[in-house]
Symmetry: C2
Subunit: 412 residues, 2 copies
């Protein structure tokens, strides 16, 4: 939808492995940072939307996650809505908050995303990912594979049944192999995405990994699912990100920083469609372009959902930055590097900044806001006026279960 | 907030123990029923809000619960937002849906609440309830109690630490004892609530329990936590409820049944406040009265959050149906029985209709809508024009973590 919410403040924790910290500690840090950035207090907030995807399975906080986190900074009484859309939970929180501001329902609201994935018991961390598909369907598929494996002793079926934990990476790997076959895309080009993004991440003090990798290092890393090596896959992580939104009227009245506005926020869901037909990224990016009045050529900086390096390369095409099959050439030309035609994932993206799933969508908005405000330091995209964030979550049929595309613009 | 969404259709499953059915089966039945009732199809819906509180812990469906359920009836592409507020998840879904309709963001939307609590492994069912408080705080309290029990061998501390599963009933029992002490309320009066509601439930084919109980039977039932016997406590259950909302304009255009409108929907959160100070029910009911323009004397039928019988009696006071301490007299006078001054929980309430937590708030709206439309059969409140639903969820400090009060009115 077309929106007009002012981004009055942004804040986030460093993403990473925070074994000694829980949801409350992480969420409170990000929320306070966003409020401080806006120059506002807890009591100014009229409502909050809180995104989280996995706390039930990881920490046992199955319910009222937002109330528990926000009570620790003294927020209560106002409506707190816990929202969930797997890896797109935080952008869903922003979408709902921006819609309510645009509708005139509130003047000042908080959108918070928080996730705690690391746990001493690693099975808990991985269980969360298995919960982002249709679990009844998954159980049937697994039972079928085990049945087939018993009957045929087929190693293919056997490996499928045993590798639950890398299921999402198997899906990405399959798509990558198909792209290689159809367009001649190479593993070196996928590695080029990781190398580029690791360089960006090396300049982000809030990134989980801050080492700049070469293409050779990426290719030589441990193989996860052909052609994906470990550094082509996003890690698990802990962290939180928050945004304070204001109505244009209230922002003027209080003299808030109104330099960045959410111009459009499109949320959609996956559906059963044929492979080859336009998927969630194409469809909802198109809608976001239409509603914001900007085209792919107008975007100055992008944060996309690079859960894997091949996914980012394919999103270049889906977002209309190049034609079908031309993603590899974008990498060769360095078009998406800082200094290139259209820098992508200047934050280090999911691959290097990290991917605490329920925080990711808002961390993208934190990065873009700071870029449009000219405060990204060494990672600054000079003169950036328009930014786009793309955040997908879960899996349904052969596509994302939830997809959110947000366009931010610099107020002129 | 003041709202104007038309209740175009309602539907629900029977609540109860559905061992052979999952989220998809239950949610699909309710959603289809609401669409059929509205005379609309899946493809007419422009967005959906789906409430669920416990699927992560009970079924493993930690994420994208709404997408998984709604895909089974062919709904996708449109925004699907999974919302959670413990036992108030479904009213939160309705609140968000009604806000978006009122704001003009959409013309036709679905609010669905679905819960699957029964599981072969009963620990999974009970784990869900422990997840509706601050789990870090709970762990500290439990550790402290165990420590004290070790040191002093105190049976009080020991029973506290061992009885996690009835924690919510312990809270209700403590409040009940305090009410008895302060106002002379009796166990017979609490039992009177259960007896009254069981009679209502005996006339509701969708209720989990359909046996009418006497006060004597309620008092003679197994003791759970003094003075609460088993039939003063809501059971766990499985079920789903759904509502189709329409904008007044669209309802007119399509000739939909526009006889019932959501006049106001107030959602708020708990905060740390002193006992004795007005709590979430008082505060948000007052807001709902103000916004709807109706006072307690204008309400014809109420569905309240009777997770325990004493809670209902105390809500009579908190909702302003009588003065402080007069709840017991309301029971003695039969004021809240069908045929009385202000019938409460004609559906059988949480006590007898059942309490699949993430579906409860919408089931209340299903009952009230049918009452205002004059199609409640033997349970009909004659000439009902205004209904109120009160739905609370989780616990924070000494109060509910989330509270939602909805006022429905008959369109004149």
């Amino acid at each position: 939808m077309k929106t007009n919410a002012v981004v009055a403040g942004v804040g986030m924790t460093r993403f990473g492995k925070h074994m000694d910290r829980g949801l409350k500690s992480l969420g409170a840090e990000a929320a306070r940072a966003a409020l401080d950035d806006a120059g506002l207090g807890v009591s100014d907030m009229q409502a909050a939307w809180v995104g989280n995807a996995a706390a039930g399975l990881v920490t046992g906080q199955e319910s009222i996650r937002g109330q528990v986190v926000l009570r620790s900074i003294g927020m209560g009484r106002v409506p707190i809505v816990n929202v969930e859309n797997a890896c797109a939970s935080a952008s869903t929180a922003l979408n709902q908050a921006a819609a309510m501001i645009t509708a005139g329902m509130y003047d000042l609201v908080l959108a918070l995303g928080v996730e705690k994935l690391y746990h001493e018991d690693k099975r808990k961390s991985f269980a969360a990912f298995s919960g982002a598909v249709d679990v009844e369907e998954l159980a049937e598929i697994m039972a079928g594979l085990e049945q087939r494996a018993k009957q045929s002793d087929s190693s293919e079926a056997g490996s499928g049944a045993g590798e639950k934990r890398s299921m999402f990476m198997d899906i990405y790997a399959m798509a990558a192999r198909s792209h290689m076959k159809q367009y001649g895309t190479t593993a070196e080009q996928f590695a080029g995405v990781s190398a580029k993004t690791s360089w960006h991440g090396s300049m982000n003090p809030r990134a989980q990994f801050q080492e700049a990798l070469t293409v050779e290092q990426v290719l030589a890393d441990r193989m996860i699912a052909e052609p994906l090596t470990r550094s082509m896959c996003s890690p698990i992580g802990d962290g939180a990100a928050a945004v304070v939104l204001a109505s244009p009227r209230k922002a003027r009245e209080l003299g808030l920083d109104s330099s960045v506005v959410v111009a459009s926020s499109v949320l959609g869901s996956g559906w059963d469609h044929d492979l080859g037909e336009d998927g969630t990224v194409e469809v909802f990016a198109r809608a976001a372009y239409e509603e914001s009045g900007y085209g792919p050529g107008d975007i100055d900086v992008i944060e996309c959902h690079d859960a894997s390096a091949p996914a980012e390369l394919m999103y270049y095409e889906a977002l209309g930055l190049c034609g079908p099959g031309e993603g590899g050439r974008m990498v060769d030309e360095g078009a998406t590097r800082l200094g290139g035609r259209i820098p992508v994932n200047t934050s280090g993206g999911l691959l290097r900044k990290g991917h605490p799933v329920g925080a990711t969508g808002l961390a993208q908005v934190v990065e873009l806001t700071e870029q449009l405000q000219g405060r990204s330091g060494k990672r600054q995209v000079e003169g950036a006026l328009v930014g786009l964030a793309q955040n997908g979550g879960g899996n349904i049929g052969n596509d994302a279960a939830a997809m959110c595309v947000t366009v931010l613009e610099k107020n002129s």
